[in-house]
């Protein structure tokens, strides 16, 4: 197995010029994430954690510094190359599910394969198997509006794992769910993380949720104030 970190962040800064003054959102971030880790990035509102997540996903570019995913530097790639990289290497889970409203549950799960031009019979089988794993085999022909919040998030989980990405980014994945549904989604997330061998990065301000991670990185005012391995590490290994 490749021993290279799945994600390396080197001296990353991000600032925005408002025309009147410059706002520094991230002020020099450095860390590596190893394969199979479950990392929680924590911080209060405005600490820069969502901006950091956007940079890690190649959705935005840093003002300075570099980011490597699977050894490949993503800073400086053009939009289409970034899109292709996201498709192959990153799965997303968002707070508000972000399913495509006009596609069925199954079509939503299949979408990443379809965008890659690989909507084969095998891909369809995998989509169905993932829906089965998240307990929605019976509801694959339902549209998002016909599903509850918990169910939508489970479809989103299945979609995130569709392309077997080495890296999974989750932004407050249980933020919009009640605690029972939240627990269910978290359990599924961890199960899939293990069974699919993906590295999981979770952005949250929920300490309880972060407690499940093997490592917690805390941000404040754009810098890392702590980076700790937790007791959960032993459990997860």
């Amino acid at each position: 197995m490749n021993n290279e970190p799945v994600l390396s962040v080197r001296a990353v800064t991000k600032s925005i010029d408002t025309g009147v003054h410059r706002v520094e959102i991230l002020r020099g971030i450095d860390f590596d994430i190893e394969r199979g880790e479950f990392v929680a990035i924590m911080g209060a509102s405005g600490s820069g954690k969502s901006t950091l997540l956007g940079l890690l996903a190649g959705l935005d570019s840093p003002t300075s510094g570099s980011i490597f995913i699977d050894g490949e530097e993503i800073t400086g790639l053009d939009e289409d190359a970034l899109a292709a990289l996201r498709n192959r290497k990153i799965g997303f889970v968002f707070q508000s599910y972000q399913l495509i409203p006009t596609l069925t549950a199954e079509e939503n799960v299949l979408l990443p394969a379809e965008l890659a031009g690989e909507a084969t019979t095998e891909a369809l089988d995998r989509a169905r198997q993932l829906l089965d794993t998240v307990g929605l085999a019976e509801r694959r022909d339902h549209y998002p509006v016909q599903l509850s919040g918990g169910e939508q998030q489970r479809v989103a989980l299945a979609r995130a794992f569709m392309r077997k990405p080495p890296l999974l980014l989750a932004d407050e994945p249980t933020g919009n769910l009640d605690s029972a549904n939240g627990q269910h989604v978290l359990a599924l997330l961890r199960d899939l993380n293990r069974s699919e061998g993906a590295t999981l990065i979770l952005v949250t301000h929920d300490k309880e949720l972060a407690a499940h991670a093997t490592r917690i990185i805390t941000l404040k005012d754009g810098i890392i104030t702590s980076d700790e391995r937790t007791t959960a590490q032993a459990e997860s290994r």
Binding site: G54, T102, L115, G117
Partner: protein, 641 residues
């Protein structure tokens, strides 16, 4: 087979369009109106062209015709005789305009008179008369067949007698249909048809009378090639219009072509207004789908893949509008024959799928062209939108803003060029395409400025006005100038529509005013023509007694004459085009002793009253065209002499 990238795009496009159907319905109507007008006009015009070709012999009432406005020269007579000897049948038709009166107390009526030889006319087609009878019976030497409007306007009935020239003729029938009506030469007022003998009796045809001569030819079954006879006639009658059954009549065709071009461009404008609607709807639709676009980008969709979805959607809208338009067009096409029923008998006007397809494609193409800017803007949607919606984007420096506008500006150029090509193709002329682009961009610029000023003014009024508006008004009005609204583009679309309707109306009414207003003060507004020497004194008497007359009565002689040689050079050798060509055919020549007061001599001098040499004065325009200077010898031909 599971769907590929196109399949997914198609599915998303279809489902999104379906879920937003009410929003798109009006847009579809807009495109349908434009495409309907376009296919209706062009489909009818093409059907009409086919009909003209198919029925060319009937519409001409012969295999071939020549038309001229002067009497035949001996050489021309000989030419016709030559062909008669070879078995070609030739029948002359004389057309002139004269007054027809019913009884002495009633005003006479200006009427187009057509004299035919009933032995041969018409070679093809049939004259329909009411009561039904043979043409030879109806056109006895003392009889006349007239159009129904003449009966109405003179308040007479079949059997009544009317005075034409020096004789009285009996109305024998009403002409319901003449096959060659549209190929006739003079179409002024009601119509009357008589025999050659009757025309002779009227005394209307004298030296100098204004008349058109038409000769219809019927070729024998074998022995005479249409191309051969045509070529020979072309040489013998250089100034005549010659047409044969292999082509459509040049005058009808020209009118038809012009009307088709004009109506096609009018339809294109309607289509553009519809397409602006498509663009606005797609733009607002995309604005509402920014989340979906951002998610797709997060999941690895390339810009091209996303643009494909919305381009497919636009294509769907354009196609739906286009198909509805084709249906409307089929109905429009059926309405035209009703308007022209008097001139043509339309049977078997074919609905052409080619024009339906053409209209459909134009609808889709124009919709896509106008949707280019919102489609290209998809590239600017940042996938990070999903995470950082709360963070309003900072206004970037002008260079960045300008760079971002480049695709929009380029697409503007593409739109204009595309429309120019469509217009050039519809009009069949590159110049029309350029003019269309110029006119359209000019109008868009003016209308955009007007819209900007209006909205700016509105904003000022609402924010700094002298009184505070009620809250509902303030919010309602503010909605018109808030960032990202469509008030400006809606104003421009409306503006184009209104401007266009108004332009057509103004041209129509302005043209008449222009004609009236441009005449010099004191210019006559009543002209009587074809007054014979016998009638001259009577006419003067009537006019002098007329209470409504102001100004002087002038009765002046004139003759139609053709300029054939200038300083030894044949006028036929001048290569004149368009309007100038008409100076090669017969022009009016009048006789004057003293210089008329409205005439200003530019070169040379007017003659003395007792001048014996043959002198002539020509208009500045004629002098300029033929480079005539005083002292040159001009040779004229009057009535074939």
């Amino acid at each position: 087979m599971i769907a590929t990238g196109w399949g997914a795009a198609w599915r998303m496009a279809w489902r999104e369009a379906r879920s937003s159907a009410p929003k798109f319905i009006f847009v579809i109507f807009g495109v349908a109106a434009g495409v309907g007008a376009l296919t209706g006009v062009r489909g009818f015009a093409s059907g009409f062209q086919d009909l003209l070709k198919r029925e060319a012999r009937t519409l001409m009432a012969g295999d071939m015709l020549i038309r001229l406005f002067s009497a035949l020269t001996p050489a021309q007579e000989a030419e016709l005789e030559k062909w008669r000897a070879k078995g070609v049948r030739i029948t002359p038709i004389l057309e002139t305009v004269s007054m027809v009166s019913a009884s002495p107390g009633r005003p006479p009526l200006l009427t187009s008179i057509k004299a035919v030889d009933t032995a041969d006319y018409p070679f093809y087609g049939q004259i329909k008369l009411d009561p039904p009878q043979r043409l030879a019976e109806a056109l006895a030497p003392d009889a006349i067949a007239v159009s129904d409007d003449l009966l109405m306007r003179l308040d007479v009935a079949p059997g009544s007698r009317v005075k034409v020239g020096q004789t009285e003729l009996r109305i024998s029938a009403v002409v319901k249909y003449e096959p060659d009506r549209m190929t006739g030469s003079l179409n002024v007022g009601p119509r009357a048809m008589m025999s050659k003998e009757a025309l002779q009796a009227t005394g209307l045809m004298q030296i100098g009378s204004r008349a058109a001569r038409r000769f219809l030819f019927k070729l024998p079954a074998e022995g005479v090639q249409v191309a051969t006879i045509r070529e020979s006639l072309r040489k013998a009658f250089p100034e005549a219009l010659i047409s044969d059954y292999r082509e459509t009549h040049p005058i009808i065709t020209r009118t038809l072509d012009r009307s088709t071009t004009f109506l096609s461009l009018v339809s294109l404008i309607a289509l553009i207004v519809g397409a602006l609607g498509v663009a606005t709807a797609v733009h607002s639709h995309i604005q509402q789908r920014l989340d979906t676009i951002a998610i797709l980008k997060c999941l690895g969709a390339r810009n091209a893949q996303i643009i494909r979805i919305y381009a497919l959607q636009t294509t769907m809208l354009g196609t739906a509008g286009g198909l509805a338009g084709v249906a409307v067009g089929a109905v429009v096409q059926q309405l035209f024959p009703l308007l022209l029923a008097k001139y043509f008998q339309f049977s078997g006007l074919i609905w052409s799928p080619a024009f339906a397809l053409e209209g459909l494609l134009t609808g889709v193409l124009v919709s896509l062209l106008f949707t280019l800017p919102p489609l290209l803007a998809i590239r600017e949607v940042k996938p990070a939108l999903i995470f950082r919606r709360e963070m309003a984007e900072v206004r970037p420096p002008w260079k960045v803003r300008f760079r971002r506008q480049i695709p929009a500006m380029l697409s503007g150029v593409v739109i204009l060029c595309g429309l120019g090509l469509v217009a050039a193709w519809l009009a069949g002329s590159a110049r029309a395409g350029w003019t269309f682009i110029g006119g359209l961009s000019g109008s868009l610029l003016v209308l955009s400025c007007a819209a900007w000023l209006l909205l700016r003014g509105l904003k000022r009024f609402v924010e700094n006005g002298p009184f505070r508006l009620p809250v509902a008004w303030r919010h309602g009005l503010a909605n018109l100038y808030r960032p990202g609204n469509h008030a400006a583009s809606i104003l421009v679309s409306l503006g184009i529509g209104v401007m266009f309707t108004l332009t057509i109306h103004l041209i129509q009414s302005g043209f008449l005013k222009e004609v009236v207003g441009a005449a010099p003060p004191g210019a006559p507004n009543v002209l009587l023509i074809n007054i014979t020497d016998l009638e001259k004194d009577g006419v003067r008497e009537i006019l002098e007694a007329h209470p409504g007359r102001t100004g002087r009565i002038r009765i002046e002689p004139f003759a139609s004459a053709r300029l054939i040689k200038i300083g030894g050079r044949e006028t036929a050798s001048w290569d004149l085009r368009g309007f100038r060509r008409r100076f090669l055919s017969a022009r009016e020549v009048t006789i004057q002793d003293a210089q008329p007061e409205e005439v200003e001599v530019r070169q040379g001098a007017w003659w003395n009253t007792n001048e014996k040499r043959p002198l002539i004065a020509v208009s500045e325009q004629v002098a300029e065209i033929f480079s005539i200077v005083p002292g040159m010898q001009l040779r004229w031909m009057i009535l074939g002499r």
